[in-house]
Structure formats: structure tokens, C-alpha cells
């Protein structure tokens, strides 16, 4: 699915030589110019060797987006509000942080009676109906038409609601940056939330996200969601494998294919803050979507009840007015 231009090929070659990184890898032909199509990525767990090339590429390419906090941080009120400072721990690579938007998770599992060490990149799932974007009170978290869920760092106040409602608790906060410093730094907000934006700016230019372009094993593929789902199903059928992300939280734009059940992987991985699970996830917005449908019926029911209640009185009123008119 991935097609490289001559320029991209040359640059990729240089990147392999360790000089230029991932700067010019082009999006697949099926994706270029398809701004309105939802794009998904497929992560084939079998292929990942855990080399962390994706982690390096992400940090290199997105370095200009990383927070540069002002210190000392404003004193926070009330005292229960804790600062989140990762700026002195930028080299942490075994979990998600404001400076590590993708990391490699490891699991020791048994495949066909043989113990295997599996590794796989973890980052934002880019949900099809992302609760973080739906429930952000400022519109700082947004879903883009091409399926990316992005937190706008110039608008985010760092209230961490997106993390609270995210089924995987993906976004991470950095105190001391962002809009809150210009409003009420001690009383409202606490920095900015950071997470993978799937290199939205590279995709805009027709380039591959850094983690995809840098992978020497082609672990990740990007394409229109329906094609990615077809591909995932084909691989799963071929290897007797399993898919994660097709239906989780109503469907995500990050799809994993694994040779072992995700329940097994979930038990084998280290979970906790910054280390997302592989649990089954129900559609977090499903109840709200059903209530939205009821909002269409409510006014109709109200009018029907009102007409039923007042129609007879209106007729009587008209009749008495008619009589008065005749007199």
C-alpha cells in the first residue's frame, strides 16, 4: 500500500544511514489528497522487533511541538492541584509522557506452545468518535476529517478531562506551558495535555507519519479505514490472529493485528499510568448518542401533548368568540 517517490526513496535511504531521519516518506497513493477520508493505521504486531526507531523518529520530528515550560511554575491553588513536570525526564521512553508520544510495550506470551517476546508500539488510538474531543469543554481537543484526534496546544488549559474520559488514559500533562499562564495561572488550568497527533502536519504535506516512515520492519501501514480493516481481517484470517481497534470504543483509527488474543497480551503487558491496556472497551459515547436521538422526539412529544391538552379549550374559545361576534 505504501508507495515511495524517488525523493522519498533517497531520503529514506539516507535515514537508514542515520543522517536524515524520516523527513520525506510519502503517503500511500490511495491516501494522498484524500483529506476528507478517515485514515487508519494498521500495526502488525508480528513484525515489530522493538528497535524503537519509531520512538526516535517521533521525538525527532515532533521536537518542535514539545513543551518548553516556564519555571518556576505558578503556585497552584488549592494545594491538591499537583504540577506535572516531565521536562527534566525527557528521556523516559518506557511509557507515554508529554515528550514520548509513542513507546514500545513488551509482552512475553506463549504462541503455539512456544514462549515468545512480542513488542508493539503504543500511542493514541485516534477513536472514530473520540470522547476526549467530544467532552473537551474548550474545543482544544478535536477530531479532524482525516481521522486524527488532535489536542491544540495553544488552546488547551491542561484540566486533564481528556485523560479522565479517554478509555486508554492516553494524554499526558505538562505544567508551566500554554494559555492558562495568561489567564488565571494559580486558579484555573494546569498546563497543556500532549499526545500523538499522528503527525497531522506531515500528513497535510502528503508525508508519512514519522513512526510509520522510520520503521525498518514496516510494522505500520496507513490508508483509508475501510482498506485497513480489510487488510487487518485478511492478515487475521491468514494467521488465525486477532484484531484490536475495529470495534473498541465504537471503532478506532489505530488497528492492531496480533497472533495471540488481546486478552492474553493484556495480561502480559505492564499497565498503569502512561501504559495503556488492551482491554475490551465499550463505546463510551453510545449512551450520549442514544440520548441525542431522544432530543429529536422530545419537542414532537411536547407539541403533541400540548395540542392534546389545549385543542378543546382553543375550540371552545373560538366558539365563544364567534358567539360574541354575532351579538
Amino acid at each position: 500500500m505504501q508507495k515511495l517517490s524517488r525523493r522519498s526513496f533517497l531520503k529514506a535511504g539516507l535515514a537508514a544511514a542515520g543522517t536524515l531521519g524520516t523527513s520525506g516518506l510519502a503517503l500511500p497513493a490511495s491516501v494522498r489528497g484524500a483529506d476528507t477520508n478517515e485514515l487508519a493505521t494498521l500495526i502488525d504486531i508480528r513484525k515489530c522487533v522493538g528497535c524503537e526507531a519509531c520512538v526516535d523518529a517521533c521525538q525527532e520530528v515532533n521536537a518542535h511541538k514539545f513543551p518548553e515550560p516556564e519555571k518556576p511554575f505558578p503556585k497552584m491553588y488549592p494545594s491538591r492541584v499537583k504540577v506535572a513536570d516531565w521536562s527534566e525526564k525527557r528521556d523516559v521512553r518506557d511509557r507515554l509522557t508529554p515528550y514520548t508520544w509513542v513507546f514500545i510495550q513488551n509482552a512475553t506470551v506463549t504462541v503455539n506452545g512456544e514462549e515468545q517476546e512480542l513488542s508493539f508500539p503504543r500511542r493514541c488510538m485516534h477513536c472514530q468518535n473520540p470522547p476526549c474531543a467530544d467532552l473537551c469543554p474548550w474545543g482544544a481537543a478535536r477530531k479532524l476529517e482525516n481521522g486524527i484526534t488532535r489536542i491544540h496546544s495553544d488552546i488547551c488549559l491542561g484540566g486533564q478531562k481528556c485523560k479522565a474520559v479517554c478509555p486508554w488514559k492516553i494524554p499526558e500533562r505538562q505544567t508551566g506551558v500554554g494559555l492558562y499562564l495568561d489567564i488565571l495561572p494559580s486558579l484555573a488550568g494546569n498546563g497543556v495535555m500532549f499526545k500523538c497527533d499522528r503527525c497531522y502536519n506531515r500528513i497535510e504535506k502528503g508525508e508519512l507519519p514519522a513512526c510509520i516512515g522510520a520503521c525498518p520492519e514496516d510494522v505500520q501501514t496507513i490508508g483509508p479505514r475501510e482498506e485497513i480493516i480489510k487488510q487487518a481481517r485478511m492478515i487475521a484470517k491468514e494467521i488465525g490472529g486477532y484484531i484490536y481497534g475495529e470495534t473498541e470504543n465504537g471503532g478506532t483509527n489505530t488497528i492492531y493485528v496480533s497472533p495471540v488474543p488481546f486478552e492474553t497480551l493484556n495480561k502480559a503487558i505492564e499497565k498503569g499510568p502512561g501504559r495503556p491496556h488492551f482491554d475490551g472497551v465499550e463505546d463510551a459515547m453510545a449512551h450520549a448518542d442514544n440520548l441525542a436521538k431522544a432530543m429529536i422526539i422530545a419537542p414532537l412529544a411536547g407539541v403533541a401533548a400540548g395540542v392534546g391538552r389545549f385543542y378543546k379549550a382553543a375550540k371552545n374559545l373560538d366558539a365563544s368568540r364567534g358567539k360574541e361576534g354575532k351579538r
Partner: protein, 154 residues
């Protein structure tokens, strides 16, 4: 609202005030402030820090308000308008409630799957919804102080 054509208005007024109160509470609960400022620590108010729960309550409140508005509008146009007219403060309330409803509808639409608005429009509806609510609350407080109702005899 002393409308003799509308004896149930007392119950509807109470329900309307209660729902508006809950909508305001759950609306502000969409911002992460109740936990930060210990309000959710008050026994019985822990639910205010549950974002999904406050979101559902906000939606249910909107459903009930839509039904009440529609019922009262039908009553006014079928019967009430012959003997009553809307007061000036009623027009102010109607305009503000319409603005809140309209921005709220767009907010609900934005939350549906496959519905994507532009970033600027998203931020506009988020912030304008809240601003209209704050103006409405201010106006409602003034009208309460002035004891002005919705209708007056013709």
C-alpha cells in the same frame, strides 16, 4: 405566570427551574472544577466529578426542557395568546434560551459519530454556549429581583 388557562403552570414552573438548575450545574461540571475546588468532596456531591454522568444528566435535562418548551408554546399559541401577551423580559428569555438551545444542538451534533466541524466553529459553539448561559443566568437573576413573569393580561 398566573394564567388561568394553564392550571398546571405551577408544576411546570417548578420543573423548569429545577431542570435549569441541574443543567447549569452539570454544564459547569463539564469543566474540571468541582473536584479541584473540593465541591465534589461534599458528601452527596461526588457525582459532580463524574464527567460521563454529568454529561448524561445534561442531555436528559435538554430532552425534558425541549418537551416543556414545546408543550408551553403549543398552549400559548392555541389558547394563551388570546388573553395574554408576552412581557419584554419574556422576549429576552426566549432569545437567550433560543441561543443556548441552538448552540447546544450544534454541540450535540458535534458529539455524534461521523460529524466533524471545523476547529474554529467547534470552539465558537463551545464558548458561545457557555457565554449565553452566563448571560441568561444574569438576566434571570435580574428578572427574579424585579419579579417580572413571562405573561401579562392583554
Amino acid at each position: 405566570m398566573e394564567q388561568n388557562f394553564f392550571p398546571e403552570h405551577k408544576y411546570i414552573t417548578r420543573a423548569y427551574i429545577f431542570i435549569i438548575f441541574m443543567m447549569t450545574l452539570t454544564g459547569f461540571g463539564q469543566m474540571p472544577i468541582f473536584k479541584r475546588y473540593y465541591i465534589a468532596d461534599i458528601p452527596g456531591l461526588g457525582w459532580l466529578a463524574e464527567f460521563y454522568l454529568t454529561h448524561y444528566i445534561h442531555y436528559i435535562g435538554a430532552i425534558l426542557l425541549f418537551a416543556i418548551f414545546a408543550y408551553c408554546t403549543a398552549g400559548y399559541f392555541l389558547v394563551g395568546r388570546h388573553t395574554f401577551r408576552l412581557t419584554g423580559p419574556a422576549y429576552v428569555r426566549i432569545i437567550l434560551l433560543s441561543a443556548i438551545t441552538l448552540t447546544g444542538i450544534f454541540r450535540v451534533l458535534k458529539n455524534l459519530p461521523d460529524m466533524v466541524f471545523s476547529p474554529n466553529f467547534t470552539m465558537f459553539i463551545d464558548i458561545s454556549h457557555m457565554v449565553f448561559v452566563m448571560i441568561f443566568l444574569l438576566a434571570a437573576a435580574v428578572f427574579l429581583f424585579m419579579k417580572t413573569g413571562w405573561l401579562m393580561p392583554k
